[in-house]
């Protein structure tokens, strides 16, 4: 384990990089989501996506793409596509037949606002839109990159990715999962799309040295797991207002978490360990400029919501 260098973490420097990128992502999402859709459906799609969320997945796409010198148009579309998949998963996850949650990002959930049927359809339409964004007409984005982005996103979202992890989660309530089982569930449920975001960013360059690609994958896997460990910590330590969603619900639902497995201090130590692993992966990537990726790794671990 390499020591964590606290100098890496410079919130002001991250903001100077991320603020203009976030502005571009927000503008693109507003331009692309729910426009020309039937009115109620479009409203529900926009409500689910716009003006909320940390946009961590888009930032990972953009940072990885910049690290490898990727096609900027492809990266912006890939960034938005990952956020649409994330947003649709939240809409469906909040439904009464799933987590039955009424609060998300400090606002009523989509089904509370628009009804269950439109929430279901909005989620479905957001998933389709993600793939539509990745495959624009014209030749600004080479077809080889379009196809690779669709491949990575479909794998990250499907039964061997996010949806598979949600199914394992569903089947695990009240069960005493061991560490390997818990890790596998989260590797799919949360990790696959976070790691996929990094890989999609790298794919925007078309071709990347295999060593660099492997290192970026390791980085993505480490921060994917770290994200969930921190989520479990925050579920115990933060209040609902700070989180913008219902705190303590995992414990209330008797769901296994990293905190229930390792205790609070143990989970915190694991999060630091994973941060160190993610930074070590960047060190061995051979890529010249990984400052944004490093800063995002710190953000994942040090966030308070």
């Amino acid at each position: 384990m390499s020591a964590v260098n606290v100098v890496d973490w410079d919130a002001a420097r991250l903001a100077s990089w991320s603020d203009p990128h976030l502005a571009r992502v927000e503008a693109a999402l507003s331009r692309w989501v729910g426009v020309d859709a039937p009115v109620l459906l479009g409203d529900a799609m926009r409500y689910a996506v716009l003006d909320g969320g940390k946009r961590l997945r888009p930032l990972l796409v953009l940072a990885a793409s910049e690290a490898v010198g990727g096609n900027a148009a492809a990266a912006l579309r890939a960034a938005c596509a990952t956020e649409l998949i994330h947003a649709y998963s939240l809409v469906h996850d909040d439904l009464p037949s799933m987590d039955n949650d009424v609060l998300r990002r400090g606002k009523p959930t989509v089904h509370v606002k628009f009804g269950e049927a439109d929430a279901l359809l909005a989620g479905d339409a957001l998933q389709a839109l993600a793939f539509e964004l990745l495959t624009p007409d014209g030749d600004e984005i080479p077809a080889s990159i379009q196809a690779m982005l669709c491949r990575l996103l479909a794998r990250a979202a499907g039964s061997q990715g996010m949806a598979g992890g949600q199914a394992i989660d569903l089947a695990s309530v009240g069960l005493a999962l061991n560490e390997a089982q818990l890790r596998e569930m989260h590797r799919l449920k949360t990790g696959a799309l976070l790691q996929g975001s990094v890989e999609m960013g790298a794919a925007c360059a078309g071709a990347v040295a295999s060593g660099a690609l492997a290192a970026l994958r390791d980085y993505g896997a480490a921060i994917g797991l770290a994200f969930q460990v921190v989520d479990d910590i925050l579920d115990v330590t933060a209040d609902s207002q700070t989180l913008g969603k219902t705190a303590g619900k995992d414990a209330a639902a008797d769901k296994p978490t990293y905190v229930s497995l390792w205790g609070l201090d143990g989970a915190r130590a694991q999060a630091r360990q994973l941060l160190a692993e993610s930074l070590a992966a960047l060190d061995r990537s051979g890529l010249a400029d990984t400052a944004a990726l490093r800063a995002l790794a710190h953000m994942v671990v040090d966030r308070d919501r």
Copy 2:
């Protein structure tokens, strides 16, 4: 309007074409759907897809691809992808918050068998799998075809296609839609994916003469609408056992249909008119072998379930 040539319709000849194609589609679906997924999710996905349905969309893909000399590997994957989108839409459409239907293809619906949460996730995972099937590793299918197939499928499935049509349908219960509104709803809800299937088949050739492509689009639009008109007729005239789903449910739900708009005889006359339009489109396509597409158009209009 050209006269309908009843000699076109040769059930035995269609079967000699479609039977081996259906066998390939079934084998491919069985090989690709729900394998390596978490166990309950994979079971629900396979239950939703395998051993059921007319496989009209796959047959349209395969027939269109053969008419233009398309890549056979691409066509098989595109055929399965359209069926996965169709299957996922049925799973979600049957949920209690939507149509609340308990019978589909003569069997209990997915949520009745596996619970609402797994039905929701199975539908989500099937949509992702559709795009995963379209983007395999390797160079058997050129990236330009993979990207085009994803583009067409995403548009057909999303808020300006199938999901959008379902949202309009949802908002229309109890309303007196006029013909234009009803047609627009069905153009999206059912027509977009049927027309998209034809376009995806054509896309398997990479490049197709624009006149032929326009004619195939017109063919797809005509049979897409004809399919829904016949569906509305069968909802009134067939029993649940023959249909394999609950008959008469549109009338019971006070949903607008072509039969409520035109009467039974009027709807039947429209179906014949649309059949003639679809065949006329094939005549002007300039394509040499459109026999399978012609036979499928007859099948759409003359089916009894």
